[in-house]
């Protein structure tokens, strides 16, 4: 077996072993056993890093081992790995965040009723996520796609005694399934035309230069691309299926960091990046529109949320929208770059929020306060001095996501924004300008709400001074991951050996080049695209620094210095109904509930009535009762008519005849002789005539 195959297998299955260990033997080994899970993920990190270094220093990775899973005569299905540069980078991201979250959870989840089981679930998640990353075919990706959905379900529902958690886990699974149906139909469509499930196979068979199997029906290819993309809409919480992600915050915060911020939700972006070579311009435009809409929508909702995790959740939705939009613009490299940087700083932000919630929760318990919500930012304030490490690291995260130079988010966001500018410059239709507007607008809002979060949480006066005194920084087990991720949020780590904080060029861009689109449209040519991005770059830098700065300044004016009063402005906005719209998340949940879920349940109830009460009880049993009626009638006819009248009637006729005939028996010999004579004469007459 090839060494790389072996590495990939270990990376894939070690977390699964961790799952099996914790689920079946967790209670037996005890809470210390969770370090085994931490170790397992650490090993996968080491292996993934080894592969990454060999890629960065050496040649690109192109290793595609496969084996036949089953075959049926004319058909065989393979399992295999698509071990290329993108996969290697993604493996590192997953292993790194997963490892840090494992470590962090050792402290964060301590004392939980299902402590070891939690680590088991983290294990199966990591397994499934690695499966998505390594999968060489759409069908195999779909398999792990659903398994990731399962682990997300389990982890959101970790505290299933809470109805809200139980609801959220179900909602997440079902919303994802809606997208997955589209993805499955898309997979079937691609397969029915090309006969292939694998990425390599599809790239070859769709390639215009290699005899496109969709030749003459490019519309169908667009449809297939959009359908498969539906899976990403669900998994990456894009409009209109984004509603599950905020609710998913019911899960423990480390889960939010790992799954609902850094990795699983990025799987949709990963899929779209993989799919990019076979997406037609029409499909890409659809993708871009969904992404742009989501980016703006998420940002607008995030402004008014007061639950610290919900702000971050909507921020995640918005940032994922960015990535999806980027792929749609053709900036597939920028999308993946943002995926990488976002994983670090968003993972960081979530873990920081977890640190705050954890500290506040314990402080509240200490003071005997069970009413106050430890996640509501209105109950925070002034935590800066109590939790300096958390504060510093979260500030770094906020700077990164806002797109401030020196930090990683600046580079990747800038690349995406350059992509939107290039797109707008190339497409001369009026609507093309909407994409950069959405991109820069959302960037400004992002900077604003992130610093609103920082100021509300860490600055100002503490909402509850008594509680504030009890708050203290968590132990090193929790702060070490924060510091690691904070360090990785600096631009430098993504640009080495380059050190220019305004230029993304470095190891990352070297090993993840802009991919070739194979559908044969000149505007999607690599050189053409790169040329456009390059031209738009300096303009994008100036603009994005400007919007980030103005967003931050506005937040300072509102929440740090108090020059502007948030309440007064809220009321002003409320006059035209805008505040409430954002606060209540554009009423998506209510609309879905009223227009889809409830009517759907009502319909199933009606169907059940049709099926059972009407069809079975009335009709089928009616047939039965009818049969009984008919047999009653035939029974009556049988007895009263046939038996009593006809049969018995015959008997009565016979007995009447007998009664009549009896009179012949007189007993007198003379009579008998007379009758015998008459008979004899009659016989002679008859015999003579015939």
């Amino acid at each position: 077996m090839h060494t790389l195959t072996l590495y990939a297998l270990i990376i894939l299955f070690l977390p699964l072993a961790s799952f099996v260990l914790q689920i079946f033997f967790g209670r037996l080994i005890g809470p210390r056993g969770v370090w085994l899970s931490v170790g397992a993920v650490a090993i996968t990190l080491v292996l993934a890093l080894t592969m990454l270094f060999s890629v960065v220093l050496g040649s690109p990775m192109e290793h595609y081992p496969e084996l036949v899973w089953f075959s049926l005569g004319d058909f065989s299905l393979t399992l295999g790995f698509q071990l290329d540069n993108i996969a290697v980078v993604m493996l590192v991201i997953v292993a790194l965040i997963s490892g840090l979250v494992h470590l962090y959870s050792v402290e964060y989840m301590r004392g939980d009723v299902r402590y070891t089981r939690f680590f088991g679930y983290l294990g199966i998640f990591t397994f499934a996520m690695n499966g998505i990353v390594l999968a060489h075919s759409l069908l195999m990706m779909y398999v792990f796609w659903e398994l990731v959905g399962l682990s997300s379900y389990l982890l959101i529902g970790h505290w299933f005694e809470k109805d809200s958690a139980a609801d959220a886990s179900k909602k997440a699974f079902l919303a994802n399934r809606v997208g997955d149906i589209g993805m499955f139909i898309g997979i079937m469509l691609l397969w029915s035309v090309t006969g292939s499930f694998t990425f390599q196979g599809l790239y070859e068979l769709v390639d215009v230069e290699g005899g496109n199997m969709f030749a003459g029906q490019m519309g169908l290819l667009s449809v297939a691309g959009v359908l498969v993309f539906m899976g990403a809409v669900g998994k990456s919480a894009q409009f209109p299926l984004h509603v599950w992600l905020p609710d998913a915050m019911e899960g423990p915060t480390p889960v939010s960091a790992l799954i609902h911020a850094a990795t699983m939700v990025a799987a949709g972006v990963y899929l779209t990046v993989r799919l990019f070579p076979i997406l037609t311009p029409d499909a890409l435009l659809f993708v871009a529109s969904v992404g742009a809409l989501t980016a703006v929508l998420g940002a607008l909702i995030a402004i008014s949320q007061t639950d610290i995790k919900r702000v971050l959740a909507y921020s995640t939705i918005s940032q994922l929208g960015y990535m999806i939009m980027a792929v749609g613009m053709g900036a597939q490299q920028a999308a993946f770059f943002h995926l990488g940087t976002h994983a670090m700083f968003k993972g960081l932000l979530f873990l920081c929020s977890g640190s705050v919630i954890h500290a506040l929760h314990h402080a509240l318990e200490h003071t005997g306060d069970h009413e106050t919500d430890p996640q509501d930012m209105r109950n925070m304030g002034g935590l800066r001095k109590r939790m300096p490490i958390t504060y510093a690291t979260m500030l770094i995260g906020a700077l990164a996501i806002s797109g401030v130079p020196l930090f990683s988010g600046f580079l990747s966001k800038d690349a995406i924004l350059a992509g939107t500018l290039a797109f707008a410059q190339h497409h001369h239709q009026w609507w093309a300008i909407l994409f950069p507007v959405a991109g820069f607008g959302a960037a400004a809002i992002t900077a604003f709400y992130m610093f609103r979060l920082i100021f509300m949480t860490f600055h100002g006066k503490p909402a509850k001074a008594q509680v504030n005194r009890q708050v203290h920084e968590p132990s090193l087990v929790m702060t070490a991951p924060l510091m690691t991720l904070a360090a990785l949020s600096f631009a430098l780590f993504f640009t080495l050996p380059g050190i220019n904080p305004l230029h993304a060029e470095g190891w990352f861009t070297k090993i993840i080049p802009q991919a070739e689109n194979l559908t044969g449209y000149p505007e999607l040519g690599v050189e053409h695209l790169e040329h456009g991005f390059h031209q738009a770059h300096s303009q994008a830098v100036r603009l994005s620094v400007g919007v980030a700065g103005s967003g931050i300044l506005l937040a300072i004016a509102f929440y740090l210095l108090g020059w502007l009063d948030p309440k007064a402005w809220t009321q002003k906005l409320q006059r035209i109904g805008l505040y409430q719209l954002s606060r209540s998340k554009f009423y998506f949940d209510e609309i879905y509930d009223a227009l889809l879920y409830r009517p759907f349940l009502w319909l199933t109830a009606k169907i059940a009535w049709l099926d059972w009460d009407l069809w079975d009880q009335r009709f089928i049993d009616g047939l039965g009762r009818g049969t009984v009626k008919v047999s009653d009638v035939s029974g009556w006819l049988d007895y009263h008519l046939l038996d009593q009248y006809v049969v018995d009637g015959l008997g009565r006729v016979v007995s009447w005849m007998g009664a009549v005939g009896r009179k012949v028996q007189t007993g007198r010999v003379q009579n008998y002789v007379l009758w015998a004579l008459v008979g004899g004469i009659l016989i002679v007459i008859v015999a003579a005539n015939f």
């Binding site: 049926l72 005569g73 779909y142 398994l147 109805d163 069809w615």
Partner: protein
């Protein structure tokens, strides 16, 4: 061994039932052990057959032929191929597990176990018969024990359920009998031999009431089998019978009996009357999709867990039909690969659904044995007014971790989670269906969502949320219960991860059948 093994498989349970006659009354313990012993040995034999089965041959294996009623050319003719092999194994396995699941039966155990063994023999006979007359006899033999098992050991509405089941099925049997006699009398020489009939049946050239006899035969057979599957709109006997039957009988009903419908179509209708099959394929697909959606929609509305599981069977059997319809893939512009995926997927789905649904019913039985009810939500006409509309359980996962773990796994298998067996066979059926009837299959895929809806809703309402005080004293699963579910769960995971062993058994036979149906057809030029 080779020639007699099928006879042993079929008649071993009969022997067991006979042995029970010699056990004096009151030895309840002994009845169970006899039943477990005979079905256990039967299972071992079935395992041996599975092991000895030649995967490289599409011929009938372990064949046995003996004259039975020579004057009518009726033979004692048995044999198995890749279609019957999974069913034989399924029957043996589920029969044995059902006996274990019936361990707590106290009402007239002798009758119960004896009837159960007869039922087992009847089912096994159906799957190994290659003579239509023999097939029909076993088909009918099976009905009687089933009638009594539901009617005597069932729930509150047992007699109504039993008579309904019996009459409904008998109605189908009558049509099947007519079809069988027609096939016999119009074939030359007259024969019941299902292999000979393959080359004879399509030569029938008779009209009745202005309709070609072959169509009437196909249709009569179809109704007979459709009731068993059950295909919409003949499905309403199923929820009632499943709900009223005791746990082990529900297991057999859903796990094995339903498969006889699709088995009959594949064994008899498909090879004997390929022209009609080809024409009706689109109807099968339509009905399959209706089954998928209709069954799932009904399941969502159910408040009784067992009823929900029963309707889920309707939905899952629809997927089998969709896969079977793919036999005409090439003719409909698809590929041979599509036909093979659909047909093999259908048989695999029959097996997988048998295992999954059996596990589901066993789990329903586990909670029913403890709580003596199984309402997800108490119905609006429940006798205790205070409970109407309230959750039947809630938070069970806290107190019953093992049980809730099993339920979660089997529910996820039911909703087609990858890496569990249901997924691969469902995906195969959908892929086959898609390559044949695109639009229909797209509609059918919504079943994937609907199935998730009812399983997850039920799981949430029963196992999540705050624990219900009323059920805080329930005990978790016993070793016996774990033991009867473990093999099923192992198969669910094993075939989910590695379906090849099962497909290797099935594929040659099914690929042959696809060729047969498409080649023998006189519609070939159409």
């Amino acid at each position: 061994m080779d020639a007699s093994i099928l006879t042993i498989l079929v008649f071993l349970p009969v022997l067991g039932a006979a042995a029970m006659l010699f056990v004096p009354r009151g030895q309840d313990e002994l009845f169970r052990w006899i039943a477990a012993g005979f079905t256990g040995v039967q299972l071992l034999f079935a395992c041996w057959v599975l092991w000895a089965f030649d995967r490289g041959s599409s011929q009938f294996q372990f064949e046995v032929v003996a004259a039975w009623i020579p004057s009518f050319n009726v033979n004692y003719h048995m044999g198995i191929d890749g279609l019957s092999m999974p069913m034989v194994f399924l029957t043996a396995l589920l029969s044995f597990i059902s006996i274990v699941a019936s361990w707590k039966i106290t009402k007239a155990p002798r009758g119960y176990f004896a009837l159960f063994l007869l039922l087992d023999a009847g089912m096994m006979g159906v799957f190994v018969s290659l003579d239509f007359f023999l097939f029909y006899m076993f088909w009918e033999v099976m009905l009687l024990p089933m009638y009594f098992l539901i009617g005597i050991w069932g729930g509150p509405q047992r007699q109504y359920a039993a008579i309904k089941f019996f009459l409904y099925t008998l109605f189908g049997s009558v049509l099947m009998l007519l079809a069988m006699l027609a096939l016999y009398f119009y074939s030359d020489p007259h024969t019941f031999n299902l292999i000979t009939l393959i080359s004879q049946a399509h030569k029938i050239d008779v009209m009745l009431w202005g309709i070609e006899m072959k169509w009437l035969i196909w249709f009569a057979l179809f109704i007979g089998f459709a009731i068993k599957v059950p295909i919409f709109p003949f499905h309403t006997w199923l929820p009632l019978a499943h709900v009223e039957a005791p746990t082990a009988v529900s297991v057999i009903l859903a796990g094995v009996l339903l498969k006889m419908g699709t088995y009959g179509l594949l064994r008899i209708s498909y090879p004997l009357l390929p022209d009609q099959t080809i024409v009706f394929a689109v109807a099968l697909a339509v009905l399959g999709v209706i089954n998928i959606i209709w069954g799932a929609a009904n399941a969502i509305a159910q408040v009784d867990l067992k009823r929900m599981v029963a309707y889920s069977s309707v939905s899952h059997m629809g997927i089998v039909l969709l896969g079977m319809a793919a036999v005409v893939s090439v003719r409909e512009g698809g590929t041979m690969a599509g036909a093979q995926l659909g047909m093999n997927g259908a048989v695999l789905q029959m097996f997988n659904h048998g295992i999954i649904t059996a596990a589901l019913f066993l789990l329903v039985g586990v909670i029913y044995d403890r709580a003596h009810h199984r309402y997800i939500v108490y119905p609006s006409d429940y006798k205790d007014k205070a409970l109407r509309g309230k959750l039947g359980f809630g938070g069970l996962a806290v107190g019953l971790p093992i049980f809730s773990g099993f339920v979660a796994l089997v529910f996820f298998a039911g909703l087609g989670l990858p890496a569990l067996s249901g997924f691969i066979s469902e995906a195969m059926c959908f892929l086959g269906g898609f390559s044949t009837f695109r639009t229909l299959t797209i509609i059918g895929t919504f079943g994937i969502l609907l199935n998730a809806v009812y399983f997850l809703r039920a799981y949430q309402r029963m196992f999540m949320g705050s624990p219900n005080e009323r059920w805080s004293g329930l005990s978790d699963m016993s070793p016996r219960e774990i033991g009867m579910l473990a093999p099923l769960v192992i198969i669910i995971i094993f075939l989910g991860v590695y379906p090849s062993p099962a497909l290797n058994v099935i594929s040659l036979t099914m690929n042959n059948l696809i060729e047969l149906v498409n080649a023998a057809s006189s519609l070939a030029g159409m």
